[in-house]
Amino acid sequence: MSYTEKELKEELDNKSYEFGFVSDIESEKAPIGLNEDIVRLISSKKNEPQWMLDYRLESFRVWKEMSEPNWAHVKYTKPDFQNISYYSAPKKKKELQSLDEVDPELLRTMEKLGISIEEQKKLSGVAVDFVMDSVSVATSFKEKLGELGIIFCSFSEAVQNHPDLVKKYMGSVVPHTDNYYSALNSAVFSDGSFCYIPKGVRCPMELSTYFRINESGTGQFERTLLIADESSYVSYLEGCTAPQRDENQLHAAVVELIALDKAEIKYSTVQNWYPGDAKGVGGVYNFVTKRGICGYRSKISWTQVETGSAVTWKYPSCILKGDYSIGEFYSVAVTNNFQQADTGTKMIHIGKNTKSTIISKGISAGKSQNSYRGLVKIGKGAKNSRNFSQCDSLLMTDQCGAHTFPYIECENPTATVEHEATTSKIGEEQLFYCMQRGISEEKAISLIVNGYAKEVLNKLPMEFAVEAQKLLEISLEGSVG
């Protein structure tokens, strides 16, 4: 493990937002505002086929008719959708064959993010598809994956090279009519990742993508489509960092997972978008639609560590359609200062003998508001289905809030649904005990919080678990009051 105390100290010394820098790369931007012409412009910039443009235009028409949802337990100034540029791509001079051809400034950015592609390639066996603003500029390990028939590329490439797969599955789990933000995303999505694991293939490495908002005022509309064909397995990691900004940045991603019969998808996220400053100024709005569908005996497991964003609105969900399918949701959501999070999951049991597990750990500090919102729905045909939910809240101050909104809809009498919830405040006695042993308050908080979140952190792949621990620590600095 590369993590040392020294590194930790350096990080603790640096109190401001760690990744709050802006890289100076020329980018090509669309004019501000949103109308049909912009949708057409995005599509033509990406040289898309007609069917893709039609999908975008149809989504745009649907979006115009919709209004922004306001049922979530969050308060914010609604973004002005006409004051955002919907497309920004780093200027590309030519196709890149190796890292030497990558803009050195971009390489530096990646290094600051701790990605260091070379090192990642060598050490961790992680194929990195790095999304800078909206266009993927560096993809590695493609060849190795290619040998197994695994497709891992940017969404735009998939549209060009694998149109049949995209056409078949795009919108099949999150239809463009699903909600306000998914409709918007479907109209203007810039890029994202596409992944296909063929039948019976076990992806030998963790796939990861790093998203990053880079251009001031550019909305980021990522789109991820991940298909695990029958009896395949894949573990996918997604990590986010964003530079410091005064104005609010909108992030409305759509992630669709398809686990066909007997397939397994493990999807892990560490989300660290800029949360705004200590006074609540700035920060990213993170309105994400994530959903997966399970076939017969398949399994989808969502693990998320959410520390960033000013406002989070996110419910990674599973549709358990196939008999004996399994859905899991493990979440740690940290809010500090004026952050607001409304996050949770939906487990929709349709098939017989389906099983779902929800473990949610909320941590609220400062004056933040942290809500768990979850739906467990057992359909008429979901005989012998089981759900277990555990929602814990940890309060760090007297001024923050923790809320739990569990919804249970059960239409089948043979199902078993369990819900457990606890709320606790970080104990002065615990802190004093640690301090008496020579552990400073900040470090003690981090120990206690990491212990509290351990059940979830343990579900993350190793390299992510370490990063996530550091994030929790940084996010909660000076948070006990």
Partner: protein, 254 residues
């Protein structure tokens, strides 16, 4: 010539509006064992909390000189780094944090303070093996979460294990005997005795003479209404066992 470890002078403190310590004086030299006894509510546990730096208590007067340094304004962790250790009467549970990780963090934080490198894993584990043997700590407890689901005896033994790991200059045992059966008491006392040296000192806070059969004190102090009203040797504890505290209370009122 014995060397002074800690000197408490005219110490007064309060919690909320209640005065607890009211002019306490105590001197402890290296190599000594002091027992502090006294009726309920006399301020015994407050004294241990105040020495460890619990900021729920406000020191309103007096001084605490520890190894030549005034510490009454010092943070609890710095006192710990300087060699102050409190074995808690009620050790808290920290779910999800392994005992081992907890101690490694504690040692590394101290090293950091003194500008020493983190302790290498191998060395650390060797130390854990040695010290746990010394205090008879069950192997499986080391990897469990700090005090979580430990029995009363296990918690106390774990306190002594932590004490062994941190090797403090001054150890304050706050009613370490409470809730222990006689076998557990012997094991804990045995551990404490093994850790005794000419370089450190121990303060044993207790209600009962029994513990002092195993950890033999050089001095016994009686605390009453936030003051030490009587100091004697081991025989004073035996006398208290027989006569209770009332005869002293009357004395002090004169």
């Amino acid at each position: 010539m014995s060397e002074l470890l800690i000197e408490i002078k005219d110490l007064e403190c309060r919690i909320d509006d209640q005065k607890i310590l009211q002019g306490l004086n105590l001197k402890i030299n290296k190599g000594e064992v002091h027992a502090i006894m006294g009726p309920n509510g006399s301020g015994k546990s407050t004294l241990s909390s105040v020495l460890a730096g619990n900021d729920n208590y406000e020191v309103t007067n007096g001084s605490i000189n520890f190894l030549g340094e005034e510490i009454s304004e010092m943070s609890p962790e710095e006192r710990s780094w300087k060699g102050m250790f409190l074995a808690f009467q009620y050790p808290v549970e920290i779910p999800g944090v392994s005992n081992i990780n907890f101690l490694r963090t504690a040692l590394n934080e101290r090293n950091k303070f003194y500008g020493i490198d983190s302790i290498p894993a191998k060395e650390f584990l060797k130390m854990v093996a040695e010290k746990s043997e010394l205090v008879g700590l069950n192997n499986k407890l080391k990897n469990r979460s700090v005090n979580e689901g430990f029995s009363g005896g296990e918690k106390k033994r774990n306190e002594i294990f932590q004490m062994a790991m941190l090797d403090p200059k001054l150890s304050i045992l706050d009613e370490t005997d409470s809730g222990l059966d006689i076998d557990a008491l012997k094991i804990v006392a045995n551990g404490v005795n093994k850790l005794k040296s000419s370089e450190n000192a121990t303060v044993v806070i207790t209600h009962y003479q029994r513990l002092l059969d195993y950890i033999v004190p050089d001095f016994v102090h009686v605390l009453h209404e936030g003051k030490i009203i009587k100091t004697g040797d081991k025989s004073l504890a035996l006398e208290l066992e027989k006569k209770g505290y009332d005869w002293l209370k009357t004395d002090s009122n004169i």
